[in-house]
Symmetry: C2
Subunit: 209 residues, 2 copies
DNA sequence: CTAACGTTTGTCCAATTGGTCAAAAAAATG
DNA sequence: CATTTTTTTGACCAATTGGACAAACGTTAG
């Protein structure tokens, strides 16, 4: 029996894999896993299908690699949520960071949404592991703030969900948002408007006074 | 040239079309348009593929029919938002109704989310038309509330978006929500917890006092 | 230069899939 | 019951798609 060679990567391999992953992100986020074809991805990466399959064994391997990277980036803003400083401004800046991600990485957001929508068939382990652990940890931080009376007493998990939902909405439902806002209000400023609105709502609510 | 006969529907036609649409909703909402196959739908409806294609000319025709019906049901809660009574409780019950829809019609929610995620290739006209018109109209109602000082002055469009996002999240990201909440808190009561949380946040925000 | 290794391509294949069609089977109609 | 119309099916087809493979082409180290 031959031992598996770890076989380190060539310069070309590193570069081409990166090219493929970027093209794949584009295609997968637009058409979903089943809707995307290897040909489209290869095309986007400027190479032939067999050539692409030289760098990744299968369509699924590309997708998995992509999802693994994604999750880390995706959870970064939450990871930064810290117990130092004022809770309200911590949450405020979490919302802002999350909204910036929706603006700057909409493809990642849609890729993730697509995967969860279909029941997370390929990333369930990461949801149960990394993601849940982090959320549990941060929910505990938020609970601490509540116990010390610095924010109102409510459910920290649903708070996190609602921040995710509202911010990611601007990436995932982008077409709808832009269509409804129309050409006048649906330009790049929609993210600033959204930021203003969300910070206001989460902090003070709708009730006057 | 023959005139197109309007040719009204048989009892069997009505029944079978209904069966197909229900099966299609199940499959489409789970796999997206491209991920779903006619065979799966036919199977779910308990008939053969050619038989299904006797009732609907193509896969796309099923999808379009489904989306048209969907939108009406989907917008019903917003249509009910009325200028009578207290604005805060109007919005509160809008949130509650929307959350009930996410709970009772998750397939519809996911079907819609899938379509928008991919850029609304098949329902753009309805978004630009029916949906936008309704949102404009209701945003005006909400603006009125703001002008009269009964709720704080903010962006009515982003308010509607944030209600959509937070409520639909519980249908679209169901797997994630249930996984993060775990078996203890992720049962049916998650909708009540969510309702309590959302009403609280939208009305009073996080700031104490 | 040349052997060894890495990269790329053209060709091919089997499975899946959307859709057609003619003929059989069932219902409905008179 | 006989005829017409509707419904159902089995067989078929062409296009798409994920992936295999061997041969050709490049690159690089000795």
């Amino acid at each position: 029996m031959e031992a598996e060679k770890p076989r380190r990567r060539t310069r070309i391999q590193t570069e081409k894999r990166e090219l493929i992953l970027d093209a794949a992100l584009e295609i997968f986020s637009q058409h979903g896993f089943r809707g995307a074809t290897i040909d489209q991805i290869a095309d986007g990466a400027g190479m032939s299908k067999p050539n692409l399959l030289y760098y990744f064994r299968s369509k699924e391997e590309i997708h998995i690699t992509l999802m693994q990277r994604l999750l880390t980036t995706w959870l970064a803003p939450l990871r930064e949520l810290d117990d130092v400083g004022d809770p309200i401004s911590e949450l405020r800046s979490y919302i802002r960071r999350k909204l910036e991600m929706a603006r700057d990485y909409p493809r990642e957001s849609r890729l993730f949404a697509n995967e969860i929508l279909q029941g997370a068939p390929r990333i369930m382990p990461m949801i149960e592991g990394e993601l849940k652990t982090l959320v549990d940890e941060k929910a505990e931080v938020i609970s601490g703030w509540m116990r010390s009376g610095r924010i109102i007493h409510t459910d920290p998990y649903h708070l996190i969900f609602s921040i995710w939902a509202t911010t990611q909405h601007y990436a995932d439902f982008d077409v709808q948002v832009r269509t409804v806002l129309g050409p006048l209000r649906g330009g790049e400023e929609r993210f600033e408007d959204a930021a203003r609105f969300l910070e206001q709502i989460f902090v003070d609510g709708l009730q006057p006074d």
